[in-house]
């Protein structure tokens, strides 16, 4: 098992218990989604006032709601197209709220450089979701690129807990740019039936010496 797989399995136990609790009490999944956004807004405020460890803890709680809403919907047999749409829209509000919290913090510290970095990271994070959503309206699937929402959220939490938010923002920015580029290229390639670069490189490797 990979180490990220082991971490995932470890956190799965408490999450299963929370999901079972919500299913038992018939908590509506859309309510869990809204609660996730509200708690994320609290985390954003904590980021804005520079209380990173508290913000990390609140983000952890918020993301439990984010994580379990779909699973609870499935177990309650309440999955719906609107639920999926609602979840995606609310996720964007949560993401943007956290970035705005950091922009307020850095603006208060008169750090224009980090205001710009945070704003760019926010722009490319939103574009990461948008490029996939738009691509999947014209091609079957566009699940490429490393930095999706779960990675972004974990980066934010680690940055907050260990007070390394600047590094987390740099990683978010660079990897989001790469992910958006991945998705644009993948969509272009799918639509144009272009040969794959990796196939060409692999063919070079397979050449007889």
């Amino acid at each position: 098992m990979t180490f990220t797989g082991a971490i995932g399995s470890f956190f799965n136990y408490p999450l299963r218990a929370i999901i079972a609790f919500c299913v038992r009490w018939q908590v509506h999944p859309n309510l869990l989604t809204v609660l996730g956004v509200i708690v994320n807004v609290v985390a954003a405020w904590l980021l804005a006032v520079g209380r990173f460890p508290s913000a990390g803890l609140v983000m952890l709680i918020a993301n439990v709601f984010d994580y379990i809403d779909g699973k609870v919907a499935r177990e309650l047999g309440q999955e719906s197209a609107f639920g999926g749409f609602w979840d995606s829209v609310m996720d964007r509000f949560s993401d943007i709220a956290l970035f705005i919290g950091l922009i307020i913090l850095y603006a208060g510290l008169h750090r224009t450089d980090y205001v710009v970095i945070t704003a760019l990271a926010m722009m490319f994070s939103v574009m990461t979701s948008y490029t996939r959503a738009r691509a999947e309206s014209i091609i079957a699937r566009c699940k490429v690129g490393f930095l999706e929402r779960p990675e972004r959220i974990v980066l934010f939490m680690l940055g907050a807990f260990t007070n390394r938010m600047a590094a987390a923002l740099w990683v978010t920015l660079v990897m989001s740019v790469v992910t958006v580029a991945n998705r644009i290229y993948f969509t272009w390639r799918e639509l144009n039936n272009s040969p794959k670069i990796e196939d060409r490189l692999a063919a070079n490797l397979a050449e007889e010496v």
């Binding site: 990220t4 913090l105 938010m165 987390a168 990683v171 490189l201 490797l205």
Partner: protein, 67 residues
């Protein structure tokens, strides 16, 4: 061995690292996670001009320990 063939392996690795098509919890994913965590925790915050970090970071601590 042709130059094209020699260059193909590192280029293919770089291509797969940045044009990401792997799932989570694969060894390739683990490598990226380790690289990102190393960047976050080993790079001294001063190098990034971190406005909030209060400590010099792991590398500075290690350098302080080495006479």
């Amino acid at each position: 061995m042709s130059v094209k063939r020699v260059l193909s392996f590192p280029l293919l690795m770089l291509w797969h690292a940045f044009f990401w098509t792997y799932e989570r919890a694969t060894w390739q994913y683990d490598l990226w996670v380790i690289a990102i965590l190393a960047f976050m925790w080993l790079v001294p915050p001063g190098w990034l001009g971190d406005p909030m970090a209060r400590d010099p970071g792991l590398i500075a601590w290690i350098r302080a320990l080495v006479p």
